[in-house]
């Protein structure tokens, strides 16, 4: 219960901070460099999204009947749902890998060195995270 309240408070704080950052970016738009405004909007959007979701999920759970709530809570660790999540994650890994080549090819065609490096870095990191997690789970199971 205490943990649930803590999550709600954190969610509200995140949403508030996100809205505040976006508001500040809108108000100070002319007085700050474009990169700072972009950073403020990006961080604000991310904080607002995470905070808003943390607030929305408990509200949705409260609107459910006790049976529906029990089913939703059980779905967190239900073995079939876990398997679905694993298969979805695996599939997403391959599709993200394919999609990450698109900005690289576009950057290559446009001769944009910075974006070539960034997109290659993203592909490498994507694979490194995958390999690290494979090794981690290989040790655990």
């Amino acid at each position: 219960m205490k943990n649930e309240r803590g999550k709600l408070v954190l969610g509200a704080l995140g949403l508030l901070a996100g809205l505040l950052l976006i508001g500040c970016a809108l108000v100070l738009g002319d007085r700050l460099p474009g990169s700072i405004i972009g950073l403020m909007c990006g961080c604000g959007g991310a904080l607002g999204g995470v905070g808003g979701t943390a607030l929305l999920i408990p509200l949705l759970m409260r609107s459910m009947s006790p049976e529906e709530r029990r089913e939703a809570e059980r779905a967190e660790y239900d073995e079939r749902v876990v398997l679905i999540r694993e298969k979805a994650a695996q599939s997403s890994f391959y599709w993200t890998l394919c999609l990450l080549w698109v900005p690289f090819v576009v950057a290559l065609m446009q001769g944009s060195l910075l974006w070539m490096i960034l997109s290659t870095g993203a592909v490498v990191l994507h694979n490194v995270f995958y390999l690290v997690n494979l090794a981690r789970w290989d040790r655990r199971l």
Binding site: R70, E71, A75, E79, V81
Partner: protein
């Protein structure tokens, strides 16, 4: 692999939701098991068999595929 979950459940007049509650899975998992779309883990198979008071082999029918 096939199973007798639907048959055993109907014989004992147990709903899918009641079985799901008893073995701690979602009702959708029971539906998928009964339709044969999903094969239970050893742990879940054990829980289901125990719930019906049977052995795993009596609930889950392993059929070796012809090579």
């Amino acid at each position: 692999m096939t199973n007798r979950i639907a048959q055993l459940r109907k014989e004992r007049r147990i709903s899918q939701a009641e079985l799901a509650d008893a073995v701690d899975v979602t009702r959708q998992t029971i539906i998928s098991l009964e339709s044969g779309r999903y094969n239970a883990s050893l742990l879940l198979a054990h829980r289901i068999a125990k719930y019906f008071g049977l052995t795993i082999e009596e609930v889950f029918l392993f059929e070796e595929e012809e090579p």
